[in-house]
Structure formats: structure tokens, C-alpha cells
């Protein structure tokens, strides 16, 4: 009996060891990135270390003399905030309308949305690019922001969500009192939907912060680059690529905000992922 228990405990310890090793594997590239961002270029070339160096300020000056990193940061932040607000508000509004009003075309719209959730991005990207060039929207932020108003996957999630959290009877009293429909949406529906919206909003923020392909195609003025495009342009900046510490620093600046956000919102983010997979 006792040896069996010992055996169980040993196996259990090994299993934890495996889990910890895997967690380290997920985390260590980021740790190396942060450590290397503080080390000098020649130091990094000489060897590997987990102890932070002293070259952070030097690396920063190097980066700043070649790339307007704060500008890229602000550009990314601006785009992410706009996208998050638009995707949250309009997806909630559309989801509410689809779930609680029986107007003509409701079913059709819902079906079209479901179909478009499955259409891969590369089918629309060439036409999208073509549209933007013919409308003169190259180097404009509009095509990077406006499409957030129509996000079928978010609407789908919020429609399922609102049906499960909002009883229709709640809407009757304010209606009889003569409240306008938009007021009811703002004062009653939005607050009730807040947790579901938060899940989608965080996903929207991260998605916008990380988005690369469309900004790469549409933006070619360096002062308008969001961070991912700036990071991708790194290999063309000679002065920085000769100093690996500066390269790591640029990557760290683009990654650390998301990691900090994740520390606070991981619960929402994770519930958002599984929410998409478990459909009735």
C-alpha cells in the first residue's frame, strides 16, 4: 500500500516537472528577449546569459536615433483603441438587434454572417486592397479602422451571449414608460452585456495591436507605421541590426504591453477562446 502511494507521488512529481518544463518553454523566449534588450550587442554575441546587462540606455539611444518607436507605439495604441471601441459598440448593437427584433431580413443577415465567418481572409484581401487604392485610401487609417464595425464572429458570439443573459421581459417596462429604443440599448442592454463585450473587446484590442498584413499593404509612410510594421522593417535598418541588443529592445517594446495586459485580463481572454468553440 505504502509503496503504491510512493509510486503515485513520484509519477505525480514527474508530471509536474513536465508541466513546469513546458511552461518554461513558453516563457523563456520572452525572458531571453527582455534580458537581451538590456545587454550590449557584443555581449550578446559572446554568449548566453539570464542576468540582465547594463546597456539598456545605450540600446534605447541606438533605437531612437533610427526608429521613431514611441510614434509607432502611439499609432498602434490609437488604432487598437478605435478598433476596440467600434467592434464593441457596433457588434453589441447588431447582436441585440438580431436577437430581440423580428424585422425583415433578420434571418438572412444572420445566415450571411455565418457564411462569412468561414470565408478565409485571402479571398477578400486582394479586392480590399484594390478598393482602397481606387478610393485613394493608401496611407489612410480609415480602412484599418472602419471594417471593425462589421465583425461577423463578434456579432455571432454576442448574439448567443445576449440570448442567455437578457430576458425579453426586462425590455417591456421601459418601453411602456416611453423610453426610446436607443436609450433602452444604452441604459439597460449594454450594462447587462458588459462581461461578454469585455471578452470580445480584449480579443479585439490584441488582434488590432498585433495586426500586420493589412497595415503593411496599405501604409508606406514610416511615420504612420504601427508597431508590427515597424518591427518588420527592422531588417532594413542597418544601424540597429548591427546591435542585437537594440533589435531585442524593439521587439520587447511591442510585446511587453500585451504581456502586462494578459496578467490582468487572462481570465477574460481564456473564456473568450473557449466560448467560440462550444456552440449549441
Amino acid at each position: 500500500m505504502n509503496t503504491a502511494k510512493l509510486h503515485t507521488n513520484i509519477v505525480k512529481a514527474l508530471l509536474y516537472l513536465f508541466l513546469i518544463a513546458l511552461a518554461v518553454l513558453c516563457f523563456i523566449p520572452f525572458l531571453l528577449m527582455i534580458v537581451n534588450a538590456t545587454r550590449g550587442g557584443s555581449e550578446i554575441m559572446k554568449g548566453f546569459s539570464l542576468i540582465p546587462g547594463t546597456a539598456l540606455a545605450e540600446n534605447w539611444t541606438k533605437v531612437m536615433s533610427n526608429l521613431d518607436l514611441p510614434r509607432g507605439f502611439l499609432n498602434s495604441l490609437f488604432l487598437a483603441v478605435c478598433n476596440t471601441l467600434l467592434v464593441s459598440y457596433f457588434s453589441a448593437l447588431t447582436a441585440y438587434a438580431l436577437a430581440f427584433y423580428s424585422f425583415k431580413g433578420n434571418k438572412l443577415l444572420f445566415t450571411v454572417m455565418l457564411v462569412f465567418m468561414m470565408v478565409p481572409a485571402q479571398l477578400s484581401i486582394l479586392g480590399f486592397y484594390n478598393l482602397c487604392t481606387s478610393l485613394g485610401l493608401i496611407n489612410s487609417y480609415l480602412p484599418l479602422i472602419l471594417p471593425s464595425i462589421a465583425s461577423p464572429a463578434t456579432v455571432f458570439f454576442l448574439r448567443q451571449y445576449i440570448l442567455s443573459v437578457l430576458p425579453k421581459s426586462i425590455l417591456e417596462a421601459p418601453r411602456i414608460d416611453g423610453a426610446s429604443e436607443l436609450l433602452i440599448f444604452h441604459k439597460i442592454v449594454l450594462p447587462i452585456m458588459a462581461p461578454g463585450i469585455a471578452t470580445m473587446a480584449i480579443g479585439g484590442f490584441v488582434g488590432s495591436w498585433n495586426s500586420y498584413l493589412v497595415p503593411m499593404l496599405l501604409i508606406n509612410k514610416p511615420e504612420k507605421f504601427p508597431l508590427p510594421v515597424m518591427v518588420a522593417s527592422l531588417s532594413a535598418v542597418r544601424d540597429i541590426t548591427t546591435n542585437l541588443g537594440a533589435v531585442y529592445l524593439v521587439i520587447a517594446v511591442s510585446v511587453v504591453p500585451i504581456m502586462i495586459a494578459f496578467c490582468f485580463f487572462s481570465r477574460y481572454i481564456i473564456s473568450g477562446i473557449s466560448a467560440g468553440s462550444v456552440k449549441e
Partner: protein
Amino acid sequence: MKHDTAAKKRLKNNVDRYGALFCLPFVATFLVFSLYPVLRTFQMSFLSYKGFGKETFIGLDNYTRALQDPLFGDAFLNTLKMWGLNIVLQLGLALLLTILFNDMKYRMKGLSLFRALFYLPNLIAATSVAFLFKTLLDWQYGTINQLLMKLHLVGAPIDFLNQPGTAQAVVGIVGAWMWFGNSFIMLMAGVQGINHDYFEAATIDGAGRWTIFARITLPLLRPIMLYVTITSLIGGLQLFDIPYLISGTKGTPGRSLFTAVFYLFDMAFNKNQMGYAAALAFVLFFIIAIFSALAFKLMNGKEDEV
């Protein structure tokens, strides 16, 4: 009474008009930025068109060219190889973790912490991931080679990104590293959705842990595994940014990191063959649809045998 219901009905009709109104911003944006671009891509696929200037209708020429293009075939095979390694590792690891955290004998703790840590790589921009690994895997000065040398695992540094085989393997492994946490979360959600009575009944009947896993958990997880595989397939066949950036936008060594979508974008934006690229996009879409249908049939077919 009668008057009352009529009034209510009128009120309801009035109210329902607001529903259409509320959908208007969505519908307008959708028509301009989603539907029109797809239709325009479809139309362009029948044109000889540089992306600007003259448009000439050439019927199915772009499609017949796509089906005979050996470079597109190679790019597609590259994509399949990298995705294949990726999905085997990703789903295998996710399944292993799901078994571990649901094991009734060992009752592992710390699920939410581990889940968060495993998910972390998925949150980071692909550009940053690509540059991070490109730098870490550098032949001369990369930290990973330095580490391997220090641990005496290799005698000489490995030039990971300059040999077709290792370069493709790197893309597959990085993909698995980015996505296994995501699959794990979905599989765990799937297990939690299984009715607990099944497990209890099986335990009372004296079924062992492995029997329960093989006969109850695994079959009931099949729909979610199918979902994970198909979404990964749709995403994986569109693989672009990691190989694009890790190869310094060139697809090297020797075209091995050229993926189907990479090839398509190269045609559209570097070679100015917008019409041909549009046809490639639709060919790829049909291939994805066929593969998805096959995966669906394969995994659902197995279910019938149980």
C-alpha cells in the same frame, strides 16, 4: 381587449423597425469592406489585370494556369509540410495535457496558471515572434545555439534557418508553440462540457481510468478535435507571416519557406499579376473547402464505428 392587442401589435411593428435601423451600420460596412472585396476578387480572377490600368477579360485562363503552375504546387506542398508538423505537435500536446489535467488518479492542480502560461505565446504578434526566433536561432550569435553548445548537445552551431529541412521544421514547431495552448483550452472546455453522470456511471460499473478515457472522453471530444483541426487547417493553409518574416521576406532557403499565400501575395504585389493572384486565392479556397470536408468525413466516420 381586442383594441389592446391591435395597439400592441402596432407598437411591436414600430419597435421592430428599430432592429433594422440598428443593423444598418453593420450592413453598410459589411457590404463595402467584406462583400464587395470578395466579389471584386472573384471578378479579377477572370481578368488580365496588373492591379492598376487596363482590365482584359480572359475567361478561365488564370485558373488553367494556376492548376499547371509547378511553383504554386511546390508552395502548396511546403505549406502542407509545415502545417502537418504543426498540427501533429499542437494537437498531440494539447491532448496529452487534457488527459493529464483530467486524470482521476493524479488530480493535477494549477490548471488556470498553466493554462495562462501555455496560452501566452498565442498573444504575441507574429512579427515579433518571427523576429524573436530569427534572432534567437541565428547561426553565429543566436542564443539557442549558444545554449546548445554550452550544454554540449551539439559540437558546432546549427544553421537552422539556412537549410530547407530545418527551416521548415522551425516554422512548424514555432506554429505549434504558438497554438497548442489555444487547442488545450478548447479541449478542456470540451471535457468540461461532458455530462458528469457518464464518468460516475462508468466508475460505478468498475471501468478503469484508461477505459473511461478511451471509451467516453475521447469519443465525446471528437467534435471539438474536429473543430480545432479544421480551424487550424483553414488558418494553416493560409500560413504566411511567420515564414515570410523568418526568411527575411525572401522565402529562402531555396524557396522552402514559400507558402501558397506567400506565393499569391508575391504575384499580386511584387509581380503585378493581380488577376492571376485572385485566381490563386479562389483555387486555394476550394482546396481548403475540400480538405475541410475530408477532415469532417474522416473524423465523423470514425465516430460511427465506436
